[in-house]
Symmetry: C2
Subunit: 329 residues, 2 copies
DNA sequence: TTGTACGCGTTATCAG
DNA sequence: CTGATAACGCGTACAA
């Protein structure tokens, strides 16, 4: 990479003259400016960003820590974050915690050493389950702005962007109740997450409020998802309403029910979570609660850049981005 | 952030003493080391990475430029890249070009100004279609190592990681021919991409080699994917073999065929592209050519880190990661 | 109009 | 054993 010093040596002027000339300082004569700029163009001089960042004490970079990127919800959020950041001349350094507290912690430690101007974090499963917050608190203690989304941690005093998990499942369940459904089951793959608990609670409250009974099945992990669901449906053949609270289980339930000869949505009404592409995948046979991933990413980043701009660190509102609902008629 | 200077002032020693003490230099006395380390621990001193990077002329950061993150294939690749990079103490700065040449170019310009030690790039659709290569060449001209994957550009002399697009579609098609299928159609959503062309060619060559005729339908964009496919199937009711070369069309074709009362795979054999979750989504009714996204990410990053290590810039092999095949019986 | 000097935070070399 | 000095590359107040 060409440096100011190199240009200066070649032109037999001082480094600062070159710097000023390139920044169009009025102190420098037109003739000198021309010479400097021409050589800079020839050698394709570009100022070193590390030096600028060190000097200005601003990196124009955001640290993003998310639990996974395979889940399309997080992919869409990342897309929103990157988009908003880019349009404000910010770069993003992304770390995927893989649901590991340890990796999350290491990433924060690393990036907090001057590499980023602010953090966007969705906590790992492990972090949420074991209520570990010291590493998140350390971000704020280091005077670095932080915004969390979706996987938030109540004890941390920062701006947050969440969805209306409880309400959207409550409403979707109520919708099924109004349609006259009687035998409800909830399939959950994420029972241990904050969002999973909220969604499950919404389901249970809606049915309790209506005086109906229900099953809650915790599928625990992704392996043999279809087998477990098939078994349930076989042994509970009167099931006529299924609510799934993750992005996969609803689709699998649809497939399993159909394989048992059920007609969907006539015999069984299914509600699942999903993202932009999901309705296409299921041919509109199941209702989809759509998380607005991109909008969440936008809002989260907007809040963070505001904080950076005003040099605020902690505090801030909790913004709710309502889920969309793609019903089946 | 605490700095060396602050520690030095408090302890009444010089900055260099503090630095050496923290780095366990044998030049420093045990007693001094203890005092320095204790204060550093108390104030949670962490060396500023920007300064280290500037000094060492190495950022330990990789610039990743991909066309999209919504497509699960790229999400899986990114996952692989991040994983491999992290286990080698590298960060990644991710830019999503959104298939835009302009954004790709801007990102390269920005990151090439000292922010990264190397680039991983999958070219934008626009870049591939209009054969723009100057910005990619400029990476190499700046003496920065580059590895491309999937969306590669032939004219650029760098290491590449690709899949066996042609062969895998050729083989899958041949498989259908051997099963006695007669009326073939290929649905394509990505006709203008290098990978799309290869896949389409594999389909066409397999059928030509077998002396069969076929249709190739370019669906152009994602909107009304189902409507277009439904129309085709209605007007070509003898279709008994469908090959899809992207990750969505096969699933949509399955849904549309079933909605027309077809039994899959009995009446129509369908082959689609997909990723880890796809077989679960389609309940194994359609065969899936599985791109090994994570493996591609691993390999790409491995190649790049090798280059960085040995200070090689251009050149390098083209590695082929064979697609998996998930057949239907 | 141009050049000198300093600082950002770190590390390495060289003196003392 | 410790400290001063220079350097990475840039920008800017101040001096000439």
């Amino acid at each position: 990479m060409t440096t100011l010093k190199e240009l200066a040596t070649i032109l037999n002027v001082s480094v600062s003259t070159v710097s000023k000339a390139l920044n169009d300082s009025p102190e420098i004569g037109e003739d000198t400016k021309r010479r400097v700029k021409q050589l800079a163009a020839e050698l394709d001089y570009q100022p070193n960003r590390l030096a600028q960042q060190l000097k200005s004490n601003a990196t124009k970079t955001i640290g993003v820590i998310i639990p996974t990127i395979i889940n399309p919800f997080f992919a869409e959020v990342l897309h929103g974050i990157e988009n908003y950041a880019d349009s404000h001349q910010y770069d993003i350094i992304t770390t995927i915690s893989n649901e590991s507290f340890d990796k999350e912690q290491r990433a924060i430690k690393m990036l907090a050493r001057g590499s980023v101007d602010g953090f966007i974090v969705a906590a790992a499963r492990e972090t949420q389950m074991e209520q570990k917050i010291a590493h998140l608190q350390s971000i704020l203690n280091n005077q670095i702005p932080l915004v969390m989304f979706d996987r938030v941690v109540d004890q941390i005093n920062c701006a947050k962007v969440v969805v209306d998990d409880y309400e959207s499942v409550y409403n979707a369940t109520q919708n099924l109740i109004e349609k006259g459904r009687q035998h409800f089951v909830l399939f959950s793959n994420i029972a241990d997450l904050s969002v999973g608990k909220l969604r499950s609670q919404g389901f249970q409250d809606a049915l309790k409020d209506a005086g109906l009974t229900f099953d809650v099945v915790d599928l625990k992990a992704i392996d043999n998802l279809n087998g477990k669901i098939l078994d349930y449906l076989k042994t509970h053949s009167n099931t006529d309403a299924i609510v799934s609270i993750d992005h996969l289980t609803g689709i699998v339930a649809l497939n399993m029910a159909e394989s048992l000869g059920k007609s969907i949505p006539t015999d069984i009404d299914i509600v699942g979570f999903g993202y932009t592409e999901t309705p296409l995948l299921v041919n509109n046979k199941i209702a989809i609660i759509q998380q607005k991933g991109e909008a969440i990413g936008f809002k989260t980043t907007e809040l963070l850049l505001e904080k950076i701009k005003h040099k605020e660190v902690s505090g801030g509102d909790t913004i709710v981005i309502p889920n969309g609902f793609n019903p089946v008629y």
